[in-house]
């Protein structure tokens, strides 16, 4: 136990040994200096005059947004439908592609370790690239429109659904698998009758969760030209029509809340 003695010779209790204390001090020093260094880089690249002006700019922005132009909402129904389609079709396409990838990536169902690492690479690259970047790439390739948005959402969803699903597959109970293999079932039959029923609820829950996230993401894909309500948002911001922007924000807020509620209800019913 870390004990030091007082000048009178009485033992005193300490929380840490001297060594641990110094180590902790060094770690804090390192962390704080790193933070200050980063702060310095940011502050060098910032125009502080604009930052000092922020309060005035903010109140100006709010005053321009404030009576929202509600009649603009009538223009937004079609883009909103497009947004919902991007999210839903994108999720559907994504889970169709993620499904085999997850089975190839799970340790207990993969045919070969080499294929497993390939599947893991697919999952990681899909996960580390944001759907907006996917959309930017696809808009340059496919041209602006809903299709680019759908594929962007799908490509981003592969990683998410694939990762959670392969973790679910790795956690299945081995006894049904043994039982089915003992009947002389082929590999595919084992998957179909022993693995699939065990992961189906998790799979449905993950898909609903991803759909909910995709609704959020598809609202902004239009900023890079990939269709949906983001196109209107971009147009309104570029024409400085802030009273239309506030209408769009209200619509996005409402849609996200509703989709979150729906997804929570469905997941609750499944699990």
């Amino acid at each position: 136990m870390p004990v030091s003695t007082s000048p009178q010779g009485a033992p005193l209790w300490q929380r840490r040994t001297t060594r641990a204390q110094w180590l902790q001090f060094a770690a804090w020093l390192l962390g704080i200096s790193l933070f200050l260094l980063c702060w310095k880089v940011i502050s060098d690249n910032t125009m502080w005059v604009f930052v000092e002006d922020a309060g005035r700019q903010g109140s100006d922005l709010i005053s321009r947004m404030m009576p929202p132009r509600w009649e603009y909402a009538n223009v937004l129904w079609k883009p909103m439908w497009d947004t919902l389609n991007i999210a839903t079709l994108g999720t559907a396409l994504g889970i169709v592609m993620a499904f085999p990838v997850a089975f190839l990536a799970a340790r207990n169902t993969t045919p070969h370790p080499l294929i497993r690492s390939l599947a893991l690479t697919i999952i990681v690259s899909s996960r580390s690239i944001n759907s907006l970047i996917w959309a930017m790439l696809l808009v340059t390739i496919l041209g602006p429109g809903v299709l680019a948005g759908i594929i962007a959402i799908a490509l981003r969803s592969i990683g998410f659904v694939g990762k959670l699903l392969y973790e679910a597959i790795e956690e299945i109970h081995p006894t049904p698998v043994e039982a089915i293999s003992a009947t002389g079932a082929s590999r595919l039959q084992v998957m179909n009758y022993a693995v699939l029923p065990q992961v189906m609820p998790a799979f449905a829950g993950i898909s609903m969760y991803r759909w909910d996230i995709n609704i959020r993401e598809s609202t902004v894909l239009g900023l890079v030209g990939a269709g949906g309500i983001g196109l209107q948002l971009n147009a309104s911001i570029n024409s400085l029509a802030w009273n239309q922007v506030s209408v769009i924000f209200v619509m996005i807020f409402a849609t996200v809340l509703v989709s979150e509620w729906v997804s929570a209800r469905v997941r609750h019913a499944i699990i």
């Binding site: 910032t46 002006d53 389609n85 990681v124 690239i129 907006l132 930017m136």
Partner: protein, 275 residues
Amino acid sequence: MSSTNSLARQQAAREGHWRRLPLIDNPRVRWGLVLGAMVYLVLALASVEVNWARVAEGAGRALNFLGAFLQPDFVSRQSDIIAGLLESLTMTLTSTVIGVLLAIPVGLGAARNISPLPIYAVCRAIIAVSRTFQEIIIAILFVVMFGFGPFAGMLTLAFATIGFMAKLLAEDIEDLDWRQVEAVRATGASWWQTMNHAIQPQVMPRLIGLSMYRLDINFRESSVIGIVGAGGIGATLNTSLSRYEYGTSAAILLIIIAIVLMSEYASSYVRRWTQ
């Protein structure tokens, strides 16, 4: 209903006709869902307009892009890439630190078992607003307010971090072991001492793990918010794509993937070490 159903299934199984249990018991709900999905699919696909001529034109570009991935060009825009990356990394670190520091009081306030109702309502409202809007929408507003550059980006990421961390921290505090809090309170501890000696030790490992995870997310997001002018590698990526310099874009994407991979390994290591 279900017992006669299962009896019929057993009877059929004895005769050699076995079918697996359906995922949804009620056949009406099951077929209704299938029908609804079909109708939606037809309506949705009908409303998707695809300009096939443009897609065919883009196919060549797709090949160019795949080719660029095989030969990424790290060199010709090296200084831009390095500057963007440095900005992204610094934004990630500062925003995570500031966001987590601000999220701790909000999270304490949003835990129903240790905070009074008015404070709880305010903190939950902060969390809801911060979580609903995408980072990029917040970035647009902050860029208008604070001007172009990494400062707006940092504030955006910090704001998004508050909602994420505070929600998870509050949930963690709500289901902690209450006996330890009672034990510390029974010694006559003040509010600060209770927080420090009963609650903090219980939530600390998870808090560290989540902060590492958020660091990872913030880096990923910092590669995007540059599109609307909030600094970071996103701006460089956007420029290279609109200039059709696919080699540079491929290099940037590969760097992003590599950094995310590294930070994922690092955070899983830290999480194992704290638990």
